[in-house]
Amino acid sequence: MQTAAPSPQSRRWIPALVAALAIPTFIAFWIGGNLRAGLIWGSLSIVFAIVLVLGGRSDTIRLLRGEDDDERAFALETQATTLTAVVLIVALAALFLVTAARGENPLVYGLLLLLAETTHLGALAVLNRRS
Protein backbone atom coordinates (compact mmCIF):
# COMPACT_ATOMS: atom_id res chain seq x y z
CA MET A 1 0.00 0.00 0.00
CA GLN A 2 1.50 3.27 -1.08
CA THR A 3 0.62 6.92 -0.99
CA ALA A 4 1.80 9.03 -3.89
CA ALA A 5 5.17 10.59 -3.21
CA PRO A 6 5.88 14.21 -4.08
CA SER A 7 8.36 14.46 -6.90
CA PRO A 8 9.72 18.01 -7.14
CA GLN A 9 11.50 17.30 -10.41
CA SER A 10 8.54 15.60 -12.05
CA ARG A 11 7.27 18.34 -14.35
CA ARG A 12 10.06 20.89 -14.52
CA TRP A 13 9.97 20.45 -18.29
CA ILE A 14 6.51 22.00 -18.62
CA PRO A 15 7.64 25.68 -18.84
CA ALA A 16 10.25 24.66 -21.43
CA LEU A 17 7.63 22.81 -23.46
CA VAL A 18 5.22 25.76 -23.30
CA ALA A 19 8.00 28.14 -24.40
CA ALA A 20 9.07 25.75 -27.17
CA LEU A 21 5.51 25.79 -28.56
CA ALA A 22 6.26 29.35 -29.66
CA ILE A 23 8.56 27.99 -32.39
CA PRO A 24 6.07 25.83 -34.37
CA THR A 25 3.43 28.52 -33.78
CA PHE A 26 5.67 31.17 -35.28
CA ILE A 27 6.71 28.89 -38.18
CA ALA A 28 3.09 28.00 -38.99
CA PHE A 29 2.05 31.65 -39.17
CA TRP A 30 5.23 32.47 -41.12
CA ILE A 31 4.41 29.79 -43.71
CA GLY A 32 0.88 31.20 -43.84
CA GLY A 33 2.29 34.64 -44.58
CA ASN A 34 1.17 36.24 -41.33
CA LEU A 35 4.41 36.98 -39.52
CA ARG A 36 2.91 39.56 -37.16
CA ALA A 37 0.20 37.20 -35.88
CA GLY A 38 2.87 34.52 -35.46
CA LEU A 39 4.92 36.80 -33.26
CA ILE A 40 1.87 37.66 -31.13
CA TRP A 41 0.71 34.07 -30.63
CA GLY A 42 4.28 32.85 -30.12
CA SER A 43 4.85 35.56 -27.53
CA LEU A 44 1.77 34.37 -25.62
CA SER A 45 3.41 30.95 -25.19
CA ILE A 46 6.60 32.55 -23.93
CA VAL A 47 4.72 34.82 -21.50
CA PHE A 48 2.84 31.81 -20.13
CA ALA A 49 6.15 29.92 -19.73
CA ILE A 50 7.63 32.89 -17.86
CA VAL A 51 4.60 32.98 -15.54
CA LEU A 52 5.15 29.26 -14.84
CA VAL A 53 8.83 29.83 -14.04
CA LEU A 54 8.37 32.97 -11.98
CA GLY A 55 5.12 31.83 -10.35
CA GLY A 56 7.17 31.16 -7.24
CA ARG A 57 5.14 30.50 -4.14
CA SER A 58 1.70 30.36 -5.72
CA ASP A 59 0.12 27.00 -4.88
CA THR A 60 -1.69 26.96 -8.21
CA ILE A 61 1.52 27.49 -10.17
CA ARG A 62 3.23 24.82 -8.05
CA LEU A 63 0.41 22.44 -9.00
CA LEU A 64 0.88 23.32 -12.67
CA ARG A 65 4.60 22.67 -12.38
CA GLY A 66 3.94 19.36 -10.61
CA GLU A 67 5.92 20.27 -7.51
CA ASP A 68 3.25 19.01 -5.10
CA ASP A 69 2.66 15.83 -7.02
CA ASP A 70 0.63 13.66 -4.67
CA GLU A 71 -2.84 12.14 -4.70
CA ARG A 72 -4.62 15.43 -3.95
CA ALA A 73 -2.71 17.17 -6.75
CA PHE A 74 -3.69 14.31 -9.06
CA ALA A 75 -7.36 14.63 -8.04
CA LEU A 76 -7.28 18.40 -8.61
CA GLU A 77 -5.57 17.91 -11.96
CA THR A 78 -8.23 15.38 -12.99
CA GLN A 79 -11.08 17.70 -11.99
CA ALA A 80 -9.47 20.68 -13.72
CA THR A 81 -8.92 18.62 -16.88
CA THR A 82 -12.55 17.47 -16.84
CA LEU A 83 -13.77 21.05 -16.47
CA THR A 84 -11.47 22.16 -19.30
CA ALA A 85 -12.81 19.40 -21.55
CA VAL A 86 -16.42 20.36 -20.79
CA VAL A 87 -15.73 24.03 -21.58
CA LEU A 88 -14.00 23.10 -24.84
CA ILE A 89 -16.79 20.75 -25.92
CA VAL A 90 -19.49 23.32 -25.14
CA ALA A 91 -17.51 25.95 -27.09
CA LEU A 92 -17.09 23.55 -30.02
CA ALA A 93 -20.81 22.74 -30.02
CA ALA A 94 -21.66 26.45 -29.96
CA LEU A 95 -19.25 27.17 -32.82
CA PHE A 96 -20.66 24.22 -34.78
CA LEU A 97 -24.22 25.59 -34.44
CA VAL A 98 -23.28 29.23 -35.12
CA THR A 99 -21.26 28.24 -38.18
CA ALA A 100 -24.10 26.10 -39.53
CA ALA A 101 -26.64 28.89 -38.88
CA ARG A 102 -24.47 31.31 -40.86
CA GLY A 103 -24.68 28.99 -43.83
CA GLU A 104 -20.99 28.12 -43.59
CA ASN A 105 -19.44 24.66 -43.48
CA PRO A 106 -19.11 23.50 -39.82
CA LEU A 107 -17.09 20.41 -40.82
CA VAL A 108 -14.01 21.21 -38.69
CA TYR A 109 -16.07 21.77 -35.54
CA GLY A 110 -18.16 18.70 -36.30
CA LEU A 111 -15.07 16.52 -36.70
CA LEU A 112 -13.60 17.86 -33.46
CA LEU A 113 -16.86 17.10 -31.65
CA LEU A 114 -16.86 13.61 -33.17
CA LEU A 115 -13.25 13.13 -32.01
CA ALA A 116 -14.17 14.26 -28.50
CA GLU A 117 -17.15 11.92 -28.31
CA THR A 118 -15.33 8.88 -29.71
CA THR A 119 -12.38 9.54 -27.37
CA HIS A 120 -14.77 9.75 -24.43
CA LEU A 121 -16.52 6.51 -25.42
CA GLY A 122 -13.22 4.75 -26.04
CA ALA A 123 -11.77 5.90 -22.74
CA LEU A 124 -14.89 4.76 -20.87
CA ALA A 125 -14.73 1.34 -22.56
CA VAL A 126 -11.03 0.85 -21.73
CA LEU A 127 -11.33 2.16 -18.17
CA ASN A 128 -14.44 0.03 -17.58
CA ARG A 129 -12.55 -3.09 -18.62
CA ARG A 130 -9.57 -2.25 -16.45
CA SER A 131 -11.50 -1.45 -13.27
Binding site: P6, D69, D70, R72, A75
Partner: protein, 66 residues
Protein backbone atom coordinates in the same frame (compact mmCIF):
# COMPACT_ATOMS: atom_id res chain seq x y z
CA UNK B 1 -14.78 14.30 6.28
CA UNK B 2 -14.38 15.11 9.96
CA UNK B 3 -11.13 13.87 11.43
CA UNK B 4 -8.73 14.23 14.35
CA UNK B 5 -5.57 14.67 12.31
CA UNK B 6 -4.89 18.20 13.56
CA UNK B 7 -5.34 17.14 17.20
CA UNK B 8 -3.21 14.01 16.82
CA UNK B 9 -0.49 15.95 15.03
CA UNK B 10 -0.58 18.65 17.73
CA UNK B 11 -0.27 16.05 20.50
CA UNK B 12 2.96 14.83 18.90
CA UNK B 13 4.31 18.32 18.32
CA UNK B 14 4.57 17.82 14.58
CA UNK B 15 4.29 20.52 11.95
CA UNK B 16 2.16 19.93 8.87
CA UNK B 17 5.34 19.78 6.81
CA UNK B 18 6.86 17.10 9.07
CA UNK B 19 3.74 14.94 8.92
CA UNK B 20 3.55 15.46 5.15
CA UNK B 21 7.18 14.38 4.81
CA UNK B 22 6.58 11.24 6.85
CA UNK B 23 3.63 10.28 4.63
CA UNK B 24 5.15 11.36 1.31
CA UNK B 25 2.46 13.91 0.53
CA UNK B 26 2.54 17.70 0.28
CA UNK B 27 1.98 20.04 3.23
CA UNK B 28 -1.04 21.39 1.36
CA UNK B 29 -2.60 17.94 1.36
CA UNK B 30 -2.26 17.62 5.14
CA UNK B 31 -3.74 21.10 5.53
CA UNK B 32 -6.64 20.22 3.20
CA UNK B 33 -7.37 17.02 5.18
CA UNK B 34 -7.27 18.86 8.51
CA UNK B 35 -9.63 21.55 7.27
CA UNK B 36 -11.92 18.90 5.74
CA UNK B 37 -11.51 20.26 2.22
CA UNK B 38 -10.06 16.97 1.00
CA UNK B 39 -11.01 13.39 1.81
CA UNK B 40 -7.90 11.21 1.52
CA UNK B 41 -7.77 7.97 -0.44
CA UNK B 42 -8.09 4.73 1.50
CA UNK B 43 -4.31 4.05 1.33
CA UNK B 44 -3.50 7.52 2.67
CA UNK B 45 -6.18 7.23 5.37
CA UNK B 46 -4.65 3.90 6.44
CA UNK B 47 -1.17 5.44 6.39
CA UNK B 48 -2.32 8.35 8.56
CA UNK B 49 -4.08 6.09 11.04
CA UNK B 50 -1.10 3.72 11.28
CA UNK B 51 1.27 6.64 11.71
CA UNK B 52 -0.67 7.69 14.79
CA UNK B 53 -1.07 4.09 15.98
CA UNK B 54 -4.84 4.17 15.62
CA UNK B 55 -7.55 2.61 13.48
CA UNK B 56 -9.12 4.52 10.62
CA UNK B 57 -12.38 4.80 12.57
CA UNK B 58 -10.53 6.47 15.43
CA UNK B 59 -9.05 9.11 13.13
CA UNK B 60 -11.80 9.66 10.54
CA UNK B 61 -15.46 10.08 11.36
CA UNK B 62 -17.64 9.27 8.36
CA UNK B 63 -20.87 9.98 10.25
CA UNK B 64 -19.64 13.42 11.27
CA UNK B 65 -19.27 12.53 14.95
CA UNK B 66 -16.17 13.84 16.70
Amino acid sequence: MKNDVRELRGERGLSQAELAGALNVSRQTINAIETERYTPSLPLAFALARYFGKSIEEVFHADGSA
